[in-house]
Symmetry: C2
């Protein structure tokens, strides 16, 4: 019987790579994205292209009223997305979406139960994690323990595995792995503040890390940037 | 400073009691409900009345596309809600919504982070729990551990407490406690298959347990039932 995986696909570079890895491991992939009224709706366009190009069996975009809560520059239109800061910071940044990975993994868990899927893939990364607490291995391990107690399969001793294939990779290693697996990074969008055509700002934290990744991997950067004035 | 709690309010008897208990413990209460395209939209009307009558500071109804996943009689209109069965069953019933408490608690955690709330109250109950794995104390403890690793407050050593004041109470004890705290159970709706006016079917598992609770508590049942033909 074919193995099934729910794969969280945001439209960005990391989750596209996670999807390619899940497919390479022999899973039938069910891509899951969220319409949480993010500032960057064009992300969802990228997610659709990524899911289709990497052969996802199905792709669902689930509506989620996260912006009702406010509190993040990624959903609250009154807060500006900051430019990348050179200094190291231990602060959790304003681009943090409250409990985002917990909410996304929980919904993935729900779909995985319905599908009787064997695994959930999420492209979290603890290296370039920008200080988000829910990108750390100890967080993922705790989510797995909780999920085992929450689900039919967990109760029956056949848990749904939470897979984080990128968690200890650098951006360069992620890009190299993705390219080896045929990911077209030109379809992906990582920027926190893209324009309506899906072009990247080139200045936010996410753009900075991505640009640096392509440079260090010695790969041509396929990102479309907003022309500088 | 006033303590704040996010309280999950479904419109049912249990969550109304949990809200009354949170208020009695001195919390400013922020009621949270979900519009997950449940069959019983009238539940949300009950949730609004309950939140208002018990003095919630705010009440948010968050949209959530859970029915996209299918698989439950409570969201999938193609599956019938079963009548209550007298026999004990160890099966997880068809009324189980996949990963529901995990999804609801995760969203409550997100709002709690934005509000800087001290606690989340959820009216889960392990006595009349109908075989749902995510109503057990060990599940709640695992969610707490995960939440402590997921959140700013948890990382800073001041975690958001997951409070389950009903977890070990019988339905009779819940009703007695709620009445002592002034809950108007006439505003609540527990039925899995109510009519459009919000009248209860009297025949599903949830109606059965509720009816029995009022009988055993020796309290007049304020529920409006659909007249039997």
């Amino acid at each position: 019987m074919t193995k099934k995986a729910v794969v969280l696909v945001s439209g960005g570079l990391d989750s596209a790579t996670a999807l390619a890895i899940a497919r390479d491991q022999g899973y039938d992939c069910y891509a899951l994205s969220f319409d949480y009224e993010q500032r960057h709706q064009v992300e969802l366009e990228s997610a659709r292209k990524v899911a289709a190009s990497l052969g996802a069996v199905d792709h669902k975009v689930v509506r989620l009223g996260l912006s009702d809560f406010g509190g993040s520059a990624l959903t609250d239109h009154a807060i500006d997305v900051p430019r990348h800061q050179e200094e190291e910071s231990v602060e959790i940044p304003v681009t943090y979406v409250p409990a985002r990975n917990t909410v996304f993994l929980s919904l993935a868990l729900g779909w995985a139960e319905v599908l009787d899927a064997d695994a959930i893939f999420i492209g979290v990364n603890a290296v370039d994690y920008s200080g988000y607490p829910d990108c750390r291995p100890e967080y993922i391990a705790a989510f797995q323990t909780m999920a085992n107690l929450a689900t039919k399969r967990g109760v029956e001793g056949n848990p749904i595995a939470i897979e984080t294939p990128l968690i200890s990779l650098t951006k360069v290693e992620i890009i190299r792995q993705g390219i080896a697996l045929g990911v077209d990074y030109g379809l992906t969008l990582s920027c926190y503040a893209p324009d309506e055509e899906g072009r990247a700002c080139g200045e936010c934290d996410s753009c900075y890390l991505r640009k640096q990744g392509f440079e260090q991997a010695d790969v041509a950067d396929p990102t479309r940037y907003i022309p500088t004035k």
